[in-house]
Symmetry: C2
Subunit: 346 residues, 2 copies
DNA sequence: CCTGGCACTCCAGGCGCCGGAGTGCCAAGT
DNA sequence: ACTTGGCACTCCGGCGCCTGGAGTGCCAGG
């Protein structure tokens, strides 16, 4: 019972099913792949594979279809991630190199991923709790309003406008704000965002009593901005691609789109995938079908990779039918993640 | 030939077809609506309506279905926009009142529209070329970098980071930037964004020669920011709703999603609808089916309304199958537009 | 352990059939 | 000049039937 050949059979089944979308039978298998044995032998192997839960038949006397477990084994041990061609690599680089600011990078990346994989793409903004405060600015913009600007070392910028209601003379406002600006930068710069938020009360305590109320108003807004900077954000694209391969989603297509719009769900998924220790080389992580059933994404597979410094800043990836071409998808995700990381490194 | 009754028949056909999704025949029509005549009479009317192009039959001996032209007549002259219930109005208000900044308003609005109409919703950011500059800030953030912040009176904020390459002594940087800040605010505040962009060269000309190169670098970045502020942005939601009523889109569902992702297409559509002088009371405008064929949105209808000051700031609306419930959809779009305008007025 | 043969299963799709819903038209009624 | 009932006609949609083909499991022999 050559275990090796059975694996070859499983691989052939997955590849064939992915490309034809039809249950694959023993006869076709030996015709299309060099297995060197007769259909009857293959049938025996298939019976074992079915017993072990790697494949299944839709109904008696039909061909076999890989199960989620079968796909899992395939990506973990059988698939060889095909390297991308030089031309493709160059295209990726050229497309991403034109980006200006962070928003632009994220936007281009998600479109690029969607178009080269022909599936739905997801990119999470680099931020997480690892980001640190780079600069805080407090600007008096006429009247009793002030503008707060918060810049993190991941390139993210948050701003808030505060209109002060406290009893402070108009003339005192500018010096008060300038003072706050100095204190804040001294206290917060190069702290992590979450840390910085916890330090705000300490800053407030050092402000002289008469101006304390106004300072509190400003700090409340800043706290708001820091919280927003902690908040994860995602961008998606290529949902039309899901529809195109729509026959692969019996009935769930609607719920898939819903999940995609519910950014909270996506973020949780990305989070979980980041924690998967099974994530292979290059930070690639794959979720298959029912593995994320709880999220309303049964029948879908997700391939993601970390990106950014040490692949820890955030994740990006694609989402498609369980029956997807894992090797090429994984290659594309990995390549894009690398180039984006490189660009962000500047 | 009572023209009046024929219109009543058309209205009944539209309403029946919208609610049943099935071609409607003369017999059913007299049963379900109080028309006070016999089926044979209705048949005569229907023959005329078909002759005039308002209805059509999918095949001989089937019921009638409204054509695009029929829907058009319906919305223009036959439909009575049902006012929303007090409870619904309160719900809308409550949902929007919690919003913090502009992004939050837009985000909540688009989700709200999608959920109450059960269709796809689109909200364009208020900006357009009407927005004016409220404040420009130039901040020195350590080293040779400066942060530019641009605020418009529509609440939009753009920021850019510039790293200077010109030959300017480190010590000269702060005063140079402060000087620029003053000049820029003097020249640009309360100008329209497009106007402001054209004024930049004038500002540059007044900078003393030795610092001219550095100033140009800063102004280039600001020009960039102003251009971005001019750029239209849209947000969409509720694409899953389109899939749910998927049977109404024979084959085009994919292209509809594509169009939705191509923000450029949407913006052009919004633009065109804003120019439609047929836009009825309350700034409502409706596009039906093939009227926007060129955009890949055949079989789709779009209902939008302007919102913001004088309904001129931007547009919002929903997009769904041609066979949609126009009266309630129009009512919902109108109500939401009003509340958003009210909130933005502050 | 592989292989050819064989009997069995079962879906997919083509065919024919009919009922029902709908139409157009006409002649008669008001 | 409309409206109406009657009537013949059309045609889709669904149902049942059937058959061909692809696939399987099992067995006995190499």
């Amino acid at each position: 019972m050559s275990d090796e050949r059975r694996m070859a059979v499983l691989r052939a089944i997955v590849e064939d099913y992915v490309s034809t979308r039809e249950p694959v039978g023993s006869k076709n298998l030996v015709e299309r792949y060099q297995l060197g044995v007769s259909p009857a032998t293959i049938r025996n192997d298939m019976a074992v594979l079915e017993e072990e839960g790697y494949i299944a038949q839709p109904h008696t006397s039909a061909g076999r279809v890989p199960t989620d477990k079968g796909y899992r084994l395939f990506v973990d041990r059988l698939a060889t991630v095909k390297p991308m061609s030089a031309a493709e690599k160059r295209a990726i680089q050229a497309f991403l190199d034109g980006a200006a600011d962070l928003d632009d990078i994220v936007d281009r990346t998600v479109r690029l991923l969607a178009s080269i994989t022909r599936q739905a793409a997801v990119v999470q903004y680099p931020s997480l709790s690892r980001a640190a405060v780079r600069h805080v600015e407090v600007i008096h913009v006429g009247g009793r309003s002030a503008l707060l600007v918060l810049i993190t070392d991941t390139g993210r910028v948050e701003q808030r406008v505060v209109t002060l209601h406290s009893r402070v003379a108009d003339a005192e406002l500018p010096p008060l704000l300038a003072d706050l600006r100095t204190r804040l930068n001294a206290a917060l710069v190069s702290r992590r965002v979450a840390e910085a938020r916890d330090l705000l009360p300490g800053v407030a305590d050092e402000v002289p009593a008469p101006q304390r109320a106004a300072a509190d108003e400003v700090l409340a807004a800043l706290r708001d901005g820091l919280t927003a900077a902690l908040e994860e954000r995602v961008v998606i694209a290529g949902t039309a691609n899901l529809v195109r391969s729509g026959t692969d989603f019996p009935a769930s297509l609607g719920s898939v789109l819903e999940a995609l719009e519910e950014h909270v769900v996506l973020l949780r998924l990305m989070q979980e995938m980041a924690e998967d220790q099974q994530s292979g080389p290059g930070g690639l992580s794959v979720r298959i079908g029912a593995e994320n059933l709880d999220l309303g994404l049964a029948e879908t597979s997700v391939v993601t990779s970390g990106y950014g410094e040490g692949q820890a800043l955030a994740r990006l990836g694609v989402l498609g039918p369980t029956r997807m071409d894992y090797p090429t998808t994984m290659a594309a995700v990995r390549s894009v993640a690398r180039y984006v990381s490189r660009i962000l490194a500047q």
